[in-house]
């Protein structure tokens, strides 16, 4: 046996032959890869590449088939307006999906918050800024409920938010008495609520404040995800919660706060929703739940957690927007738009599975 004080252990007898073998430890093997494998590795290292390519291809395809009606600045900027709500709600969904969760209640939170804002400002005549703040606080409150159920009772996010989806939607119908507040009334009494719908014309393109708001939100979330410890911890928690906990991350705190943040973003989405449609309806935004998940998945995020980017979600939302808009301009029936989006989701997830199988 070796002397304990010596600096290097004398190898075991069976290890002596090692000197004659390869001296490299854990080096990269340079293997010839087939073009397909190279593509797989490239896509693995650049997760937003797939959605970016798909977006470019679909714009090119519709530009080719539909022509200038599709490619006009006005129409392209219209697509951005059309995806504002999905973009904002998708941003909230991205944060949740990165932690390996899912939030089915995002749409319901948004509608509930818009109804609260409208009721307070228009029906009860409170100052619009106060109505906005209360609305955002309500969104945070919804997030607190989701976050508490997920972290304290340890219920699966799918079940929790499936339940709160119904609960929030029922509260929304009750509070609004199923009545729509008309656009003219909102414009007369609380124009601030419609502020994000204000149009801005740039070189024939027509944006709204809401479009810029969405882009600003995406930029902010990009910063948080990539340049702050909180963002890195979201990925770590989604990747392997046990590893994150052992690394000293307070996983429950991260999870709780992500649901609250998602609630706040949904409430801001409610403001953008009022700007987009003008009126305040308890039946608005019905498709936001599933559309947000579509945008996240098509944008390359993995529902298993730890993988996904906010830029991907923005591109994912744009892809869905381009498909809907392009097919509508091609005079294709709405049902075929849904048909196409359905395939988009399945192909996106199948591609994700293939990319994940990349040999390390």
């Amino acid at each position: 046996m070796t002397d304990i004080g010596s600096s290097r252990p004398v190898a075991q007898a069976f290890e002596l032959v090692l000197d004659k073998g390869e001296s490299r430890v854990a080096e990269f093997e340079v293997r010839a890869r087939s073009p397909l494998q190279k593509l797989q590795h490239f896509l693995h290292a650049n997760p937003t590449a797939v959605p970016a390519i798909v977006l470019l291809l679909s714009v090119a395809a519709f530009g080719f088939t539909v022509g200038s009606r599709f490619l006009s600045m006005f129409n392209l900027s219209l697509i951005i307006q059309q995806v504002t709500i999905i973009g904002v709600i998708g941003a909230a969904q991205t944060l949740i999906v990165i932690t390996a969760g899912i939030d089915l209640s995002v749409g319901a939170i948004m509608v509930l918050c818009s109804v609260i804002m409208g009721k307070l400002a228009v029906t009860m005549g409170l100052p619009a800024p106060i109505a906005l703040v209360v609305g955002v606080a309500a969104g945070a409150g919804c997030g607190v409920i989701n976050g508490t159920l997920v972290t304290r009772l340890k219920l699966p996010p799918f079940i929790v938010t499936l339940g709160t989806w119904s609960i929030f939607f029922a509260l929304n119908l009750w509070y609004s008495a199923s009545e729509t507040i008309r656009s003219q009334e909102v414009a007369k009494i609380a124009p601030l609520l419609q502020a994000l719908g204000t149009p801005v014309n740039i070189l024939g393109a027509r944006f709204t404040y809401g479009s810029f708001f969405m882009l600003g939100l995406v930029a902010l979330i990009w910063f948080v995800l990539n340049r702050t410890a909180f963002g890195r911890h979201l990925y770590a928690v989604g990747d392997d919660p046990d590893a994150a906990r052992l690394s000293g991350i307070r996983t429950d705190r991260i999870l709780f706060s992500v649901y609250v943040i998602a609630g706040v973003i949904c409430a801001l989405g409610a403001w953008a929703l009022i700007g987009r449609i003008g009126s305040i309806s308890p039946q608005a935004g019905q498709t936001a739940n599933l559309d947000s998940i579509t945008a996240v998945v098509v944008g390359g995020a993995s529902l298993f957690g730890g993988r996904g980017s906010i830029i991907g979600t923005l591109i994912g939302a744009l892809i869905v927007g381009v498909f809907r808009n392009g097919l509508a301009l091609s005079d294709v029936d709405v049902l075929w738009q849904e048909f196409a989006v359905g395939w988009l989701i399945i192909i996106a997830v199948a591609l994700d599975q293939w990319i994940r199988k990349v040999s390390a």
């Binding site: 390869e22 854990a26 340049r227 909180f230 990747d239």
Partner: protein, 265 residues
């Protein structure tokens, strides 16, 4: 013993007395004791289910014992989470490595203790100092002779098993100012990588950091350990000097085939 520090009378660096932990009707720790002296490599061996992992998790803050006392350098400590143990200078390399595959090497090394930018960018915007973290990570890996990886920003999932192990050990060695605990560090590795990890362990000790090595690999244990703590049925059975006993003795003690005559060391 060649390391003269652990003669009776020296204060143990990390000590546990009468640790108990029960999960329902299963007793994981049954009045377990533990002593680790400054600058030594202590191996902890025991049969499956002997409670080694529970002991280690208690010492690293990942498990809160039902009763018992843990002392660090003579002072009683109560670790409620791995964060507490890390703050006290105790780092653990878990068998699962506790790395996040989708994050980079640098991100993983600083996971849970990221460096922030100086000034308002760091305090108000909470912006990370990525350059500093990458530099330190590269330094630490180079120090341990592990910089065969292409880039410090490579994702951990692109690394081989040996490289991942290296990252986990480097993280522990970089931050473990007093104790580094390693749970089966060579179990998943090939012959060459195992050798590398054993050298790393000796490196860590050379810097004055005590090492707790949990392993099933008797040749490795007998090769580098200063003392061997044998765990059986939830408690410390005995501590032996690897030079005074054979591997067969240790295995016999561990499995209960033979009872130790004297409680050594």
């Amino acid at each position: 013993m060649s390391t003269g520090s652990n003669v009776p009378g020296t204060t143990p660096l990390l000590q546990a007395r009468g640790l108990n932990k029960r999960y329902g009707r299963v007793t994981a720790l049954d009045h377990a004791d533990f002593d680790l002296y400054p600058g030594e490599i202590l191996a902890v061996i025991g049969d499956n289910g002997a409670g080694k992992s529970s002991l280690i998790r208690a010492l690293s803050g990942a498990l809160v014992p039902d009763s018992g006392e843990i002392k660090l350098a003579g002072k009683t400590v109560a670790f409620r989470s791995p964060l507490d143990a890390q703050a006290a200078g105790i780092e653990t390399v878990y068998q699962t490595l506790a790395l996040s595959p989708s994050l980079s090497i640098a991100d993983n090394m600083f996971l849970g203790r990221e460096l922030r930018r100086a000034g308002p960018l760091g305090t108000i915007c909470r912006m990370l100092d990525r350059k500093a973290m990458q530099r330190v990570a590269r330094e630490k890996l180079t120090e341990l002779g592990l910089m065969t990886v292409q880039s410090i920003n490579q994702r951990v999932e692109t690394l081989s098993g040996g490289q991942r192990q290296g990252v986990a050990v480097a993280r522990a060695a970089a931050f473990g100012s007093r104790v580094v605990i390693m749970d089966e560090p060579t179990a998943a590795l090939g012959v060459k990588e195992s050798r590398r990890v054993l050298e790393l362990i000796l490196d860590v000790r050379r810097r004055g950091v005590s090492v707790v090595l949990i392993s099933h690999n008797m040749p490795h244990v007998f090769e580098i350990a200063d003392r061997i703590h044998i765990h059986r049925l939830g408690r410390r059975l005995t501590v032996i000097d690897p030079k005074a006993y054979t591997m067969s003795d240790a295995v016999a003690f561990m499995t209960g085939a033979k009872a130790p005559i004297e409680v050594a060391a």
